[in-house]
Every structure is written in C-alpha cells, then in structure tokens.
Symmetry: C2
Subunit: 114 residues, 2 copies
Amino acid sequence: MPTKSDLPQGTLDLLILKVVALGPVHGYAIAQRLQQVSKHVVQVPQGSLYPALHRLENRGLLTADWKETESGRDAKFYRLTRKGKAQLEAEAASWQRLVNAIGLILTMSEGGAE
Amino acid sequence: MPTKSDLPQGTLDLLILKVVALGPVHGYAIAQRLQQVSKHVVQVPQGSLYPALHRLENRGLLTADWKETESGRDAKFYRLTRKGKAQLEAEAASWQRLVNAIGLILTMSEGGAE
DNA sequence: TAAGGTATGTAGAGGCTCGAGGTATTGCAA
DNA sequence: TTGCAATACCTCGAGCCTCTACATACCTTA
C-alpha cells in the first residue's frame, strides 16, 4: 500500500509555483490538483498549504484577487508574478540538479569513486 | 556557477545510510564521499552531519566504534544495523516514489488531468 | 611556528511541515 | 429541518531539521 509521503522542506513552494503557472487557481484547488496528478503520493494539508501561499505572496512571487468559483463561492485566485516565474524556473532547475546528484549517490556501489 | 543546494529535510539521513551501507566509514569521510560522488552538488556541513549521525545512532540504525584511520588518527567508524538496512531500503523506495510524483507534476501542462 | 587539512563535537537561530482547531457556505439526504 | 460532507478560507503551536558559528585536537608541511 504505497501511499502518502511527507514533503521535504522547500519542495512545496516549487509545486505550488508550478501549478499556479498553468493558470489562475485558488488554494483549495491547488491541493486537489497536486494530489490528483501525483496519484495521491503528494498530499497537502491545509496547515501547510495556506501558510505557504501567504509566504509566496509576501515574497512577491504570487499575487491574488478574490473572484467567484464556477460553483458560486468566493475564492482567492493566485497568479504568478514575473518574479515568481523566474523563481519557478530556478527552483525547478535546482530540483533537477539535486535529484540527479542523489540518483548518483543512490546507485553508487563499492567502487564508487577513486 | 550552479553549485551547492541545501538538502531538503530528511534526505540527509537517506544519503548517510546509503554511504554507510557500502562499508564502515567515519563521519568526515561520509561528507567527503557525498560531495565527491554528487560532483559538489551535495555539500554536508559539519553542523548537519554530526547531529544526523547521532540521531541515526540513537534510533538504532547505526552503530559505531572508535578505530584508527589509515593516517593514524582516531575516528568513529559507523556501520549499518539490520534495522538501518531496512530503513535505508524503505527510505530509498519512498524517495523514488516522491521523485516520480514530483516529476509528474513538473512536466504537467494545461490539459493535465480531468 | 604558522597554516591547513583531518576529525569530532555543541549551541542557537531560523525555517518549514503538520496536526488540530476554527469560520462560513453550499447541497444533499434522512 | 436537521445533519453531514464537501468546498474554501485561516491560525496556532509543537516538533523537527538544517545551517552558521564556534570550539577542540592532532598531524604534516612549509
């Protein structure tokens, strides 16, 4: 039963930035989207989600305005700022580097490096 | 100069476990090994390394004993316990799952999931 | 003898995730 | 109409981890 894993510190920002980059969304939908696309491996508790959103907004990476959902409820829709887009690219690249590096380590055997 | 990136919380344990799994090593050598194999993407400050080693030892995943280095200095050599080996496998699998999931999210485009 | 690499360790600051708790609305079923 | 579930927002505190900085000690080489 391979299910949810806690997100390592810092990766949540990257994921949120990515989802928002695809078009304006509100917080609740971001969490659903992440869960859906990751096949329930990534779960985002609200206690992580909303602080993260505010953090990103305060850092000037996101902007938000209240609108109505399709279902008629008020929700805060987030969009990426120019700065946010740059940050997303930087963090995505950085993530790739890290994943590659850890991949090297994890596949390393006795005669690793001399 | 794309260089070092801070390690997300939790991944350091995995990396240490992996290096120790290849044979007895002392702390300082673990850090060097990680840096070397990862081509300097992964850097492990001593302030992260030693607390992590003590943590793992307290959790019963590692055992240690003092021996002499080839160069004649005293050093604490770590080995993996049975529990540590199991933990390593679990964490490696968990890491893979996470990387795959995040990969899905990062390559997601407009028509992501309906 | 001064410098630099090897080797271990601690303390404190800062940052992030998470569980638990709280508010309000909508829609459906009992 | 009462209750429950889902949608949608939010805050607080605990807990954990990483990092910078500091401190110690040995050995070799210049």
